[in-house]
Symmetry: C2
Subunit: 110 residues, 2 copies
Amino acid sequence: MDTRAYRLQSKTAKALAHPTRIAILEMLRRGERCVCEMEPELEASQANISQHLAALRDANLVAGRREGMRIQYRATDERIFQVLDLLAVIRHDQLNQARRALASLESVRA
Amino acid sequence: MDTRAYRLQSKTAKALAHPTRIAILEMLRRGERCVCEMEPELEASQANISQHLAALRDANLVAGRREGMRIQYRATDERIFQVLDLLAVIRHDQLNQARRALASLESVRA
DNA sequence: CAGTTATATTAGGATAATCGAATATAATTA
DNA sequence: TAATTATATTCGATTATCCTAATATAACTG
């Protein structure tokens, strides 16, 4: 078992293991954003968003660039969006399967 | 912000947020495995492997099928391996970039 | 310089993840 | 049925994550 590699992969996965951090990355998919632009869309405090950005920075998934008073964040590797897309289709299919299973159980009562 | 969708996506990501769980999935990539086959390859106790399998089951990423005394586990969605592949290349590039950055800093002392 | 805006960091408490140890369950074999 | 093998679950302690509140830093504005 390639412990070191798996540790690093799980570190990246851990960075995605929070809905707010996924929401942040989804915003960055559409281009650079400062925290002040994220604040209204995410339902989280400024401090909390900064903390989640720190986690994403720590995992090397985002980087910021100062522009006057603001700091513009961007994704450092576009492939993270492919990961998000895959997670979305996996989730989507899981929901569909669960719905089908429920429907077939319910149809028995007829 | 689509809170529900992001919660489900982050749940899947959280299941990947541990090196042992990634190692388990990598074993399952090569086919069905029982816990007793995982035990020597992973450096973890039987109980601990069972606990990680429970986490993967809870996220719907693996399923087990009893076969006599053993329970054969398999991945429920092959696309999870695409996620692992992406995490691997992202990690690989991050390492390379860090190495290049270090090398260029070291070359200054000449 | 004083005040303001944008962001980051720290501290503290609550919740969750992790692991080892012990125990439970389930199938098999003697 | 007793012993054995394979796996799961529970408990408790430790560590990590998360959030809010407060404070710090940094750049801009008057």
